[in-house]
Symmetry: D2
Subunit: 449 residues, 4 copies
């Protein structure tokens, strides 16, 4: 139940599939399925997943097909016995490793980059020192990994710390580990510390032990976790997300002041930054856009000619607030631009006199090879457009993206401790392009007694 | 598709069942089912519901069993042919009428108060003047009704105007009618006017005709629609809901100022009022509570000992904002009090130094017989407790309910044009108690060519 | 559970929908659904249907839409309280009665002929003598009816005895009633007697009481129950179905001998008659056609050009038995002729040298208004074709239909005690055509403590 | 569609899961799922499985969990590209091979014996001669295998020919291969020949090529395919199953004559043998037991005290035929004995005066390691009971099992060309016990253009 609640709290990190694997000390039992946590697990299924420890996973992926067998945790048997792996991040040398093992006669049954990790583990099984450490040393890229063996969990984080991974302790004294602190909160566990980049943590009946598998590196924390991906109430890379987002809004107000009547947050993504913008600018905050909470995945898409209605179904502008006003609309980011454009059209229809759009990060112009599933750069609106061209496309009166420096001034670790590659193409480790993305895996949580 | 989108936009008015009935000019076709609009209708089902006009309904009910046959529109055949009815409101003389017809040999197959309306219609079928008008004159209580006949829609609203009902016109020139203007918005229709209390409107191939079935009365608009029930972006009884709610917050700040660090809205119900409170008080607004958007109805409830986690799953307090602070928490209403208490416990755990709870309406102490589904008064926390007792129960430092006068000062029609019976027991029409509630029916929408 | 098992055993009488209503002495509880008994009821649903007595129903219908609200038992409330009705048969004066009640202001919510029965019951509620008897006296047509009231079951059978209805007693002493004795068998009840035509039987805590509502008539038992519809192991109109069918086969052998190598039964419908034919003719019986038991309703139909395969999927001819042989194929009846033709094509492909088709009833040429759902006479192959034309259409070497006299010689009641209207148009009661069939309802079962 | 129909026709070989993999010449696409063919595939899914060739599989298994990932065809990627495998049979050296590969660092994700075959294939990929042939030479046990590569199908049958595998050709000229000829029949293909034991057949754009991977052995055809497993209309090991079964019945009549009134077949398993028994003995055949065709898998099991009813639901004895008679009941085999006992109890209740049970094979006393899923020998009724003890347990007047010699006299290949290990423990290849059965896989079919 704890794993279930933890996955539930981290549902925002992946909605494609969910899974839980538990151990009773002798055997691993697993259940995975396509869909949301609340859809994949029934009370009967959860009842069959009792054990002394376990791991779970929410997956979000566009590459790899929607095959059920790509769902995680990935449960395999090798000479060391059974092992289940949950993987958040993306390996950039998965193809090289896969080719290596295929050439030695190994076979693969998923299209994920996670499967090679188990082959590495099996290959180093007879190592005299530490098979897991040796296996990890072959991995290149972003990964927060949870391994479940019969008698223990091993939690590892890549040497650059791209993705978050935190340790907690429940009131009853169980040690646990999760992607985000929000998962600790819901199970009533307190945050102990981050798993450090390059660290492996073992959790078993004896408690928590630690060892390192890599030297300290300059970190490359994914700043987009703060901008968009993580839960606002989580504490990430040493800071609470909500506070960072408010600061981003304040910074925007300083960088790009405007004479306007209201600040309007884009629900729910722009809410925190809008609050910061309003506070710093002194412009009144108004809830000018109302979301429909019942839009579900089974919703029937209207036909092409009813497309404007589609955005309308998700968001409704309050014309009595907006009509005739000069408004500052605050959102977190623009990816393809089509949805944003639909929203701007709607605000115009509601009578907005001037629309000043403020985005709390720089233009996204480069691919991410480290775990955020952006579309191909050719589909990013900012790739080959100037800000003014984007402004025209969106039909707004002014458009400001927060500057890279501005953004980095809102987080409290040194600027070069973050990965900002999607904004400036500055990849921390060399990526041979094209990397065929094998699938992006997200999030883990575990409890161990 | 328009009816579908309209129902979808009004999903907040009822989640138990949904239905659509259409006419092709010769026959009515219907589909109803338990669940959300997006669950009840598939593309195949919608494709089978084409016609020249139709009506739809979202139902929310606690009385009447969850039998599929209680779902609306209620489709019946009588001497006048087929008719489908969608009913928002609650009749207080349904039992009297039902007994009358049963004693004349009529039979009933639902437990809803709506079914008697069709018996009335059948009884007056041979009336020389106007069968529908004569039928409506026998109804006591709150009702916004849509009747679908083969050749027309008739939309009627009770003489007191308890529930909203609005006329619109699409860009293509189709007339339509809905409970809330938000339904007009999503189908790209403009708001024309309210259906007046005591008015019947006919929509058919010739357009819109009107007639009255009752003299003008002093209205009894349900003020709880503004407080809680309606969509914030809807225009209701002459005012946009969102603006009324902000004003309620401002009024609370005036009635009950407090020295505090932050105003924290309870998401999503207290958001508008909190904004008003912050604006009027000058206290900074902070997003201190983060909701989990993925809580669905299939979510597995934790066991009793994990109950605190349940609230935790839905809302997560941002301790870094709240810890050590004096906070004003703004919400719209308190019904049973248990959920509110859970939230307050959570805020304390997150470190709140002082909690000042502000509720944007007076204490709810009386039953509603006119369409809002409050629990039995014995289960309302305010029925036999003073405000201070409630404050102690909730564990907050101060608690203020907006005064009746304060509340009424925020709406722009005369104070005695609203029904406030749930707050002060002042029922506009006499209710012989106990009224066995036969079921509360909600919301309609229709389009006609 | 007994009702469930009884319905299950009578699944052959109706596969469109199924339902059970029970009483706990104070209130009726019902569950109905579309589909097979095993699909409609889950263990949870059955657990919620406990009571001291109850009735069930399998429905098969082509008229009336597949609306869930047409499923039976039909549960209604009238001045006498709640009543549920399960109806097997077809009323021919349902339209007249419906018009009568509609003109008096009554409303209808199903398209079934069953609903008028409850209106009749309500109309005679204040009768000093016996409301149920008075209501039944207005019905014209075929009906075996079960009524469930809070305190009793009433079982009635039309004065002509068209459809079967039998009384049983379980080992524990519970009285029960069902369409066929096979339902008694599965619940371990013994057959007591038939409910007589024109009789009403009351089952309650005091046991079984009887009264008559009509004088004795010359019976009109549906002979097609013996030919095709009933379960072979049931005892019907005083005879076991299986034995009657064997006798039909023997009679065919006498009427239409043929020089052949093998008798081949059409599985499963012609099996009993084939055995009789083989026995009487001395020709060897061979299983030359093998059915596929896994053909389900969700089976995907092949495209038009793969139509021959469709029959092939259901039946496979054993060419090693059939090739080069002169075979007598025995089946129970031919309706449209298309399926039979497909089977004959297949036998030819398998190498049959001569095919002699023997059908154990006369050609079906007239509509049934009393409960068997034949297609419109214009679609019956025999309506306007001679036997030789049919033989040519089917592509067989000889074709013999059992004569009317031959058929009637196989049952042991006087020939004029059976309804043979579908064969010779001799309707026992006058039917004003066109009768709009309102829906054919099938089968009931009940248990009472 | 052809593969679908072929799987459908062979549904009797496995009901646990079903799957189809197709190739478009460049990539393999697969869909597998738990349940019957008609449940796993929808028209939409089939539409997505078009290609120039493909294979399918019905699986029946008790070992290996019901994990979806055990369903076949097993689709993997190795250095040679993608390959899908469907396996009918059981390998006895799977564990040895699996240990070998695990010790070399390979990983496994299913609990089936099929997965090792792909590891073997990958291991011999660089072989200069013929990787597939080399891989097959390592397999011990029973297997009919279909491999799907992008450009071809390879069909292989073990050197002993335990399981059937046949080649066919459709009217359009497509080559195809299937477990049973019934699959060829339904797609309108004619039987060409058996794939020979020790043969690999390649089907591609150029047609059919053949090669051998093993020398000719004395065959070990599974005689239980004829007794029970195969479809009666299939031609197997050179004989039509139906005819063999009739002969088994005749032989029983010769071995164990009895003075009786009727021969009663146990539907549907004993039908063919009963016909043979009746023919040879001159005793009249009667349909004394009627099956209920609607027993499905979702049927709710009655509670313990209603167990007799459970058998009753599936079969109903016709007491009017059986009562007071001396009957010979013919069935194909007895495994655990509990079901048979239930049937005998029912026949006694129906009034049978004497019951003479005749079983068309010898007592089953040994495990099968070659593809038939018998329970553990400790659960076989015949393992440690004499025939007379079994007779007493079943409560019958006489019991005769067909002798081994009698059984073998009914098939037309030399007696030592069949595997009869389950009857006499004479295993053709040495089995080191205990063999942990990794899962029994069944049946394949394929079409190639």
């Amino acid at each position: 139940m704890r794993i279930y609640m933890g996955l539930f709290a981290q549902q925002h990190r992946g909605q494609e599939s969910a899974g839980i694997t538990v151990t009773d000390g002798e055997m691993l039992t697993s259940h995975v399925g396509m869909g949301l946590v609340s859809e994949v697990f029934s009370p009967e299924i959860l009842a069959g997943l009792r054990g002394k420890g376990g791991i779970g996973h929410n997956r979000y992926s566009t590459t790899g097909s929607s095959r059920c067998c790509n769902a995680q945790p990935l449960l395999e048997e090798y000479i060391g016995g059974q092992v289940a792996v949950a993987h958040n991040g993306n390996l950039i040398n998965a193809n090289v490793l896969r080719n290596h093992y295929e050439s030695r006669g190994h076979i693969f049954h998923t299209s994920t980059d996670t499967e090679v990790i188990i082959h590495l583990l099996a290959a180093h099984h007879l190592s005299k020192s530490d098979p897991l450490v040796e296996a990890l040393q072959h991995l290149q890229g972003a990964y927060s990994l949870l391994f479940l063996f019969n008698d223990r969990i091993e939690a590892a984080r890549d040497p650059w710390g791209w993705r978050p991974l935190v340790l907690g302790k429940t009131e009853e004294g169980y040690d646990c580990v999760a992607s985000e602190t929000v998962a600790l909160d819901v199970i009533g566990a307190r945050f102990v510390r981050e798993v450090e980049p390059g660290e492996v943590v073992t959790i078993n009946d004896q408690g928590v032990q630690t060892r390192r598998f890599a030297d300290h590196q300059r970190p490359a924390h994914c700043i987009f976790e703060h901008i968009y991906f993580a839960n606002p109430s989580s504490k990430l890379f040493g800071q609470t997300v909500q506070l960072v987002r408010e600061r981003l809004g304040e910074k925007m107000a300083a960088e790009s002041p405007v004479d306007a009547d209201y600040v309007i947050p884009m629900p729910d993504s722009g809410r925190s930054a809008a609050m910061g913008y309003a506070r710093a600018s002194g412009i009144e905050l108004r809830e000018g856009i109302v979301p429909n909470r019942y839009v579900g995945r089974t919703f029937i898409q209207p036909t092409q000619r009813q497309r404007d209605s589609a955005v309308q179904l998700k968001l409704n502008a309050v014309s009595e607030i907006i009509a005739g006003k000069r408004i500052v609309v605050v959102d977190d980011s623009i990816v393809r631009g089509t949805t944003t454009r639909g929203k701007m059209v709607q605000l115009r229809k509601a009578g907005a006199k001037e629309i000043h759009l403020r985005i709390s990060c720089p233009p996204i112009r480069h691919a991410c090879y480290f775990g955020i599933d952006f579309p191909d750069p050719s589909k990013l609106i900012a790739t080959d457009r100037t800000v003014d061209q984007i402004r025209q496309y969106l039909g707004v009166d002014s458009l400001h993206y927060l500057s890279l420096e501005g953004m980095l001034s809102c987080v409290n670790r040194p600027a070069d401790h973050y990965c900002t590659a999607c904004f400036n193409g500055d990849y921390r480790i060399e990526v041979e392009r094209p990397v065929t993305k094998l699938g992006l895996e997200r999030h883990q949580l575990r409890i161990f007694n």
